[in-house]
């Protein structure tokens, strides 16, 4: 039996501030492209598709689960992942808060959780508890009970010390 030939397309997109081009199978999921081709393994796979939010990234500033998005649909678009948040060794406000307030335990949901919170804070810098809960409702965590996740997001907004 022969290995079937995959149909590929040229994909040009901006990831964490840098443009790149890759030949990509038409059916390749964005999460697999980011992890296996672009080497961005901070983007996690926690489920069989669209259930857990661990793969959440930003596409043109909007939080999207990258496991139910085809890579070829991102041509010309601007992608941000957890790896792009810290600049020159300085953690982002959210990253620092999740670290210091223990918004992360095992850490597996953390990249997706932080990116979903990032999208929220960019359009709503002082969210209420209810708005934080709504924005993170697609991101599952099994360790924290979410208490310290909410505290972390609030700490990043300066709402708690």
């Amino acid at each position: 039996m022969q290995i079937p030939q995959l149909k590929k397309r040229l994909l040009r997109l901006k990831i964490n501030g840098r443009w790149r081009e890759d030949a990509i199978a038409e059916d390749a999921l964005l999460v697999n492209y980011l992890r296996n081709v672009a080497g961005l393994t901070g983007v996690k796979t926690g489920c069989d598709g669209g259930e857990c939010g661990a793969c959440t990234i930003l596409i043109d500033g909007k939080a999207v689960p990258s496991c139910i998005m085809l890579a070829v649909r991102c041509d010309g678009r601007c992608i941000e992942t957890i790896e792009g948040l810290a600049t020159q060794g300085r953690l982002s406000r959210l990253q620092r808060a999740f670290h210091e307030k223990l918004g992360t335990q095992c850490g597996f949901c953390t990249p997706g959780m932080v990116m979903a919170a990032e999208a929220l804070l960019r359009c709503n810098p002082t969210p209420t508890d209810a708005e934080i809960r709504a924005a993170l409702s697609g991101n599952l965590c099994r360790c924290t009970g979410y208490v310290k996740i909410i505290e972390s997001v609030k700490a990043a907004t300066g709402a708690v010390s």
């Binding site: 992890r35 620092r96 809960r133 409702s137 009970g145």
Partner: protein
């Protein structure tokens, strides 16, 4: 004068510190198994049984093997050895031989050039299975004449336990009130967010096998790989990457780990096995469906006179941890309250479902739920406050329970006081608006099993601490940090014992080529055992450093005062040495230093002499009390948890931030089991095998959880510490069910309290009320 170092005075302990590996986690640079460099690795896939019970009549892999891009195809023929966790109960093959016993059991596996090729090869495997009768409940499996899953286990009973302590018949006779309840709890799953994965590299030239996997106990895997692959243990290396949660799912060796190793050797290379979420659910090993029948005798003042409890666990198709789980369920009825007489009957049943195993609160949770619900109902019958009923039955440390469990510290009274006050219980109970209620319950858990499963005579924990020319201190521990923060705990106790800055200490964890063997991340043993071993090692190193400083300062070691990282002669003299200077002196003639510290549980901690008496034994129990405020919507049956107050006695909070996080996480996990989590099977086919269908609470349903840390300073714990991550879990479900009873006057006997179950209870109450009315009218 040198300023007092913040570590040396223990202030880190008071404040708490972020995880030492937290930066990697928040920046996405933490590498979990699926993230490891797997360049050149083949992809593994598993063929699973489509039937629940059947004999394998034919299995033909020739077409798959002949396929281009396929490097290995293996079946049960490739491994004639069973594996398992208990030496007396290993009845499972990595790949089924002759018979399959649950839907989803691995039959064959493929390693191929890529995922697509591996999946097509799986489809080319031909097999015929002759179906056998299959059983999906304990009742069906135990019925007379049922086909046996395992020929040596009549009645499909894996293990029966019958324990008698004290005169329970007399106890019941002396009671003012005896009440019995039947309570059942659904099977649940760990559902850690990281799906199962492993990367195995077999080097055919050297015969070395390197395994990177999600295991909580690399040591067990090490032993089982040697057994199943017939390899010398010295040729195997187990390395733990970052792990995305465990909760018990990864304590046992899992079939896919052995399968991947078999594939790697058959293919003479590297194989990456990433299980889907569905397969991760199928691998299971979680909390079994449990039926509890419990009877308690009580005097009018709330004092318990006797308890009789029968537990039936539907264990799934293979032994796994089953014997331990059914023993825990009885043993941990003790240790929380003073129960003068106890009868326990436990039955662990085989059924044609994925095997159950250990899950957070192992064995104790469902019986604790039943006990605490019953205690509440009895205190209501007697007109007692639920807190008073608990306070009437407190233990007094130090003591030993009827079943010979050792209790050296007991912070439960303070836990009760704290949550009673914080929740405003006295002012609010019985005064909340309609549909709202308060409930409370207590729970406890072991700080490590005092008797390890593999009894070798070695210490219970060993930690090495290294010091080299660079002044860096490296703690080497086999203990697996799976997100609970155990490596951070080791760093804190080492830095504090030595009096050095926390960031001078790095921790290398769980790599069998580098770190001393550890019994692993289970039964909340790491803080107590590994913490003590780390203190022991750090003390030895400190003595070496003090001796070195004494030589240089021409003083006696006793005269050396160590303040933070400064060594000096005490009282009035100016001569002092920096840490770097002392390290240089200490290394003269001997070079780099490695010291070893150990911890051993003494024999008196290892449980009673009765059969199964080792299970439940521990050096110290954590204690917890909690109050849950809930509301019930009588139109929809929806239960909402408004707030939780929890107090936990962890002896001493070595890292309060992590302790708080562990308590919140365990309470919340108890909430999932209580509210919505449940695995469901349709003729053995899981109907819950995704994170949408397996309903764990989202952030929207998750309430504030207020934590009160109680420190009873255990005489044997490291700095007085005990466990903090399992003790509070078991109290949530009964506190919630008690709160629902308080809110709507209905006692629910099934977990989880899903809207359909609540509605059914409400409808039944309405029916009974109508019936009573009709009867009254008729008479």
């Amino acid at each position: 004068m040198t300023a007092v170092d913040p570590i040396a005075d223990g202030s880190h302990r008071r404040r708490g510190v972020p995880l030492i590996d937290g930066i990697e986690k928040v920046t996405g640079s933490a590498r979990y198994t699926a993230d490891l460099d797997h360049a050149g690795a083949l992809v593994g896939r598993i063929l699973r049984s489509p039937v629940s019970h059947g004999d394998i009549e034919r299995l033909d892999v020739s077409k798959a093997r002949a396929m281009e891009g396929v490097f290995a195809v293996i079946t049960g023929d490739d491994c004639p050895h069973t594996y398992g966790v208990l030496p007396v109960a290993m009845n499972e093959y990595p790949l089924a031989r002759e018979r399959v016993r649950y839907r989803g059991e691995p039959i064959a596996a493929v390693a191929a050039i890529d995922a697509g090729t591996a999946e097509r090869a799986i489809e080319l495997i031909e097999f015929e299975l002759r179906p056998l009768p299959a059983y999906y409940s304990s009742e069906e499996a135990r019925a007379p004449g049922a086909t046996l899953l395992h020929d040596n286990k009549p009645g499909n009973i894996e293990r029966e336990v019958h324990h008698d302590f004290g005169d329970w018949q007399l106890g019941f006779a002396n009671a003012d009130l005896v009440r019995e309840e039947k309570i059942s709890c659904a099977e649940i799953n760990h559902a850690q967010i990281e799906p199962h994965a492993c990367l195995v590299d077999y080097n055919p030239t050297t015969g070395q096998l390197t395994v990177q996997t999600v295991s909580q106990v690399g040591y067990y895997l090490h032993l089982m790989l040697a057994r199943c692959l017939e390899m010398d243990t010295s040729r195997i290396r187990i390395v733990k990457p970052f792990i995305g949660g465990g909760f018990g799912a990864r304590v046992e060796v899992l079939n896919f780990e052995i399968i991947t190793a078999l594939l790697a050797r058959a293919a003479s290379g590297k194989v990456l096995m990433l299980l889907s979420r569905e397969e991760t659910f199928l691998t299971h090993r979680a909390r079994p469906q449990t039926d509890v029948k419990i009877r308690v005798g009580m005097r009018r003042d709330g004092r318990i006179t006797a308890c009789a409890c029968e537990v039936v666990q539907r264990g799934g198709a293979y032994a796994g941890y089953g014997i331990v789980t059914i023993l825990y369920a009885g043993a941990l009825l003790q240790g929380l309250y003073d129960i003068p007489a106890l009868r326990y009957d436990g039955y662990r049943i085989y059924a044609n479902l994925p095997p159950c195993g250990a899950m957070r609160g192992h064995g104790a949770v469902d019986t604790r739920h039943a006990f605490e619900c019953l205690l509440d109902r009895m205190s209501r019958d007697l007109g007692l406050d639920p807190f008073a009923a608990r306070r009437a039955n407190l233990l007094h440390a130090p003591t030993r329970t009827l079943n010979d469990l050792m209790i050296n510290s007991y912070g439960l009274p303070e836990c009760l006081d704290r949550v009673e006050q914080a929740s405003g219980w006295r002012k609010r109970i019985g005064k909340l608006p309609k549909g709202k209620g308060l409930g409370m319950a207590c729970s406890h858990y072991v700080s490590g099993a005092a008797k390890p499963i593999h009894w070798t005579g070695e210490p219970h924990a060993v930690v090495n601490v290294r010091l080299d020319f660079d002044g860096g201190i490296t703690a080497l521990t086999g203990a697996a940090d799976i997100g609970q923060g155990s490596s951070t705990m080791v760093a804190i106790v080492v830095s504090e014992t030595l009096g050095v800055a926390l960031d001078r200490v790095r921790v290398v964890s769980a790599d069998s080529a580098l770190t001393p063997k550890d019994n692993g991340a289970y039964s909340s043993r790491i803080t107590f055992m590994v913490g003590n071993a780390a203190i022991d090692a750090a003390k030895t190193l400190k003595n070496i450093l003090v001796d070195a400083a004494a030589r240089k300062l021409e003083a006696r070691p006793d005269d050396i005062e160590v303040i933070g990282e400064t060594f000096r002669i005490g009282r009035g003299t100016q001569a002092s040495l920096s840490f770097a200077e002392v390290v240089k002196i200490a290394l003269v003639d001997r070079g780099a230093i490695t010291v070893s510290g150990t911890f051993t549980c003494p024999p008196e901690a290892q449980g009673g002499r009765h059969k199964g008496g080792a299970v439940g034994s521990t050096m110290g129990f954590s204690y917890a009390a909690q109050v849950v405020e809930a509301s019930v919507d009588e139109a929809t049956g929806l239960v909402t948890v408004e707030k939780v107050w929890t107090a936990l006695d962890c002896g001493c909070a070595i890292n309060p931030l992590a302790v708080e996080g562990q308590i919140q996480g365990s309470v919340w996990m108890g909430m999932g089991q209580a509210l919505s989590e449940e695995t469901r099977y349709f003729e053995g086919l899981p109907a819950h095998a995704s994170l949408l269908e397996y309903r764990m609470p989202t952030i929207v349903e998750s309430p504030p959880i207020e934590v009160h840390i109680v420190e009873s300073h255990d005489p044997h714990g490291p700095f007085g510490a005990k466990e903090a991550s399992e003790g509070a879990l078991g109290g949530f479900a009964p506190a919630l069910v008690n709160a629902i009873a308080n809110a709507i006057g209905i006692d629910l006997d099934e977990l989880p309290v899903t809207p359909d179950r609540v509605m059914e209870a409400l409808i039944q109450r309405r029916r009974q009320a109508r019936l009573a009315k009709t009867l009254k009218a008729a008479t």
